[in-house]
């Protein structure tokens, strides 16, 4: 493996990992603080992609479509939390799992009714619809670089909020001991609504910016969900830092595993997860 090949693969791994982080960050927030296993997380990613596809057609502009789609995604999170989850907090985990599993079916069916079964695409938006020459016969889409930049910036923002704001302190405290936070007079119900909406919005946003890079098809969220659970488990449940490093590890492992050990490519991320759990049963950063 020559250096050019290695560096390009490094870039591929980093880009995939950063996108995974964006999707997994919402999952780990909701999982860690609210204790809810949101199985519908992948479906939210799909909804984000379909929203931006639909709105780009209507509005004629990708960036405008994203601006309109984000409030819709937040509203979706808000509605689901207030209307459905809110009634189940006192119940056993199993009820919440059943609810979010039901949401997958509902959202997938809604997708089929609204947008049908065809495969769609969103064109790569200006001014990023260009490519740079990497090697003598390989180009790299500038939009991929842009997506990496956005993911890094959002990771920075999330890190800053968690470390340096009052809200971040409450969230981190909530992840460690929810009852104590409530005892200190924090309104946990509002906090939960906020976390869930933000979590949904982050995932949907990942679907939106990934839309020009992927094909928009029914069931596109189902396979990404499993990968995100692996990321969250490796990083440590509820840890944003863990989700970041977990996503980078999985991104690199998928990329290099595919070309170096092709026979194990489909297993490699699970092998890593098993290895991490053997050494650190609660994840790398829990």
């Amino acid at each position: 493996m020559d250096l050019a090949f290695f560096s390009v693969q490094l870039l591929n791994g980093l880009q995939y990992g950063l996108l995974l982080f964006l999707i997994a960050s919402g999952l780990t927030l909701i999982f860690g603080i609210m204790g809810i296993i949101n199985l519908a997380h992948g479906a939210m990613y799909m909804i984000g992609a379909y929203l931006v596809y639909d709105l780009t057609l209507r509005l004629g502009n990708f960036w405008l479509a994203i601006l309109v789609a984000i409030p819709i995604a937040i509203a979706l999170g808000l509605i689901i939390e207030r209307l459905f989850l809110d009634t189940l907090y006192k119940r056993d985990h199993l009820y919440q799992v059943l609810l979010t599993f039901g949401l997958i079916l509902v959202l997938n069916e809604a997708q089929r009714i609204i947008w049908g079964g065809d495969v769609h695409r969103v064109a790569v938006p200006a001014p990023f619809d260009a490519s740079i020459q990497l090697t003598d016969n390989l180009q790299y889409s500038v939009y991929r670089l842009f997506v990496m930049g956005v993911c890094l910036a959002l990771a920075g923002v999330i890190y800053w909020v968690m470390r340096h704001t009052r809200l971040g302190i409450i969230i981190r405290a909530g992840a460690v001991n929810r009852d104590m936070v409530e005892g200190l007079g924090i309104n946990v119900r509002t906090l939960f609504t906020l976390i869930f909406s933000v979590g949904v919005a982050l995932t949907a946003f990942a679907g939106m910016i990934a839309a020009p890079l992927t094909s928009i098809a029914p069931g596109m969220g189902d396979s990404i969900l499993i990968t995100c659970f692996v990321v969250v488990v490796i990083g440590g449940i509820g840890s944003i830092k863990g989700a970041f490093w977990g996503a980078i590890i999985i991104g690199m492992a998928t990329t290099f595993g595919a070309v170096l050990i092709p026979s194990l490519a489909s297993m490699v991320i699970y092998l890593i997860m098993a290895a991490v759990l053997l050494v650190k049963p609660r994840g790398l950063f829990a």
Partner: protein, 390 residues
């Protein structure tokens, strides 16, 4: 003795009356078609296109088969192999259908074939391309109106060699359908004297192709042959074009790469060459009237899946008109079905001894968002079925 005679005569008479009444009833009963197709999930579009095709063919005959009305029982297969035997049993035993039409997914087909074997239900496969269905696992009551993976990829081997390609990289998903497709291409290409320098298998159903494209660029082959379908096909072709590989390394594939995906592919698809048993631009009378009828009925241009549905419908139309709607003698029914000859939109279509279509395969190139037919890639291609015994 006298009374016995009387009673037995009466019994005989009433039995005859009942029997003929039943016979009349059988002919007045609607023909029940069980459609076991995906109406949700990744393959929804395929399931819907096939259903549209079947219904169009029967509608054109006044909504009847051999003079009998038609009743459809639509069952969502969810493209889930684990539910296949149970779903098929439900159609055959529960709904008591006369014909089962399905599935799309080869894994589901395996489950269905098992039940078809046990129950003897007449099954027409309008898509699933697993070779075994009309080879190792063939049976008298199973027909296929579509293709096998091998049939659509084999002709491309010679095409690629004739175009001057000598070293080729092949890439597909790591699952049975993809591997069967590559087998057909590799068999023909290496027989001509070409070399497969790398066979890449991507975990199913991943659409994260960047690392493989980097690998292809560093291998510098003369061409790439690929099988992906649906959303995966769109992702692969778009990523391939975005990586700038399309200009230096031609992309070849079996037609499923781009079938039904033309709008989603946009410019990325231009120039991609594929082999398939159909193209919407085929210039024959049957195709031209089919395309316009389909467009009138459903407001969109049909793809190969719609044609496969349509031919399934036409097969039933022809067979039941020969039989006058009488489906009671299964042996005779199977014989008539096996002898169906269609002037299909895809060209002449007949069936081999293993009940697989003998059909043309065309070389197509995407130009201005359409599959233009460059030439015939293989005329009346018959699929190897040495392992079939029935």
């Amino acid at each position: 003795m006298k009374t016995f005679k009387k009673t037995s005569l009466a019994t005989l008479l009433s039995a005859t009356a009942m029997f003929s009444a039943m016979n009349v009833a059988a002919n007045e009963d609607p023909v029940k078609l069980g459609l076991m197709l995906p109406y949700s999930g990744t393959y929804t579009a395929l399931g819907e296109a096939i259903t549209n095709g079947v219904k169009l063919a029967i509608e054109q005959e006044g909504g009847q088969l051999g003079g009998r009305d038609v009743e459809y029982v639509e069952l969502d297969s969810e493209a889930d192999p684990s539910k296949a035997p149970q779903n098929m049993s439900r159609l055959v035993n529960g709904d008591d259908v006369d014909f089962v039409i399905g599935p799309v997914h080869s894994g589901v087909a395996m489950g269905m074939l098992r039940v078809a074997k046990q129950t003897g239900a007449i099954t027409i496969i309008p898509n699933a391309g697993l070779g075994a269905a009309t080879n190792e696992l063939c049976m008298p009551n199973v027909f296929r109106t579509s293709f096998s993976m091998w049939q659509d990829s084999y002709p491309m081997g010679k095409v690629a060699y004739d175009q001057g390609h000598r070293k080729v990289v092949t890439i597909t998903w790591d699952y049975a359908g993809g591997k069967e497709d590559l087998t057909g291409f590799e068999e023909a290409f290496t027989a001509e004297g070409g070399e497969i320098i790398e066979q890449i298998l991507v975990p199913f159903p991943s659409t994260e192709f960047q690392s493989y494209l980097t690998q292809i660029a560093s291998l510098e082959p003369d061409a790439v042959y690929t099988f992906f379908a649906g959303g995966g096909g769109v992702s692969f072709v778009r990523d391939y074009a975005a990586a700038g590989l399309k200009e230096s390394i031609p992309l070849l594939g079996s037609g499923f790469l781009t079938e039904g995906n033309l709008t989603a592919l946009g410019d990325a698809g231009e120039g991609v060459m594929t082999t398939l048993h159909y193209a919407e631009t085929l210039e024959n009378d049957a195709n031209q009237s089919f395309v316009s009828a389909y467009e009138n009925a459903y407001g969109e241009i049909p793809d190969t899946y719609a044609v496969q549905g349509y031919d399934t419908g036409m097969m039933l139309v022809q067979a039941l008109s020969v039989l006058g709607g009488d489906t009671s003698n299964q042996e005779r029914l199977i014989e008539v079905l096996a002898n169906v000859h269609l002037a299909s939109p895809r060209g002449p279509l007949s069936f081999s001894d293993s009940h697989h279509p003998i059909q043309n395969v065309y070389l197509r190139e995407i130009r201005d968002g359409k599959h233009e037919v460059l030439r015939m890639a293989y005329e009346n291609l018959e699929v190897p079925d040495d392992a079939c015994q029935m």
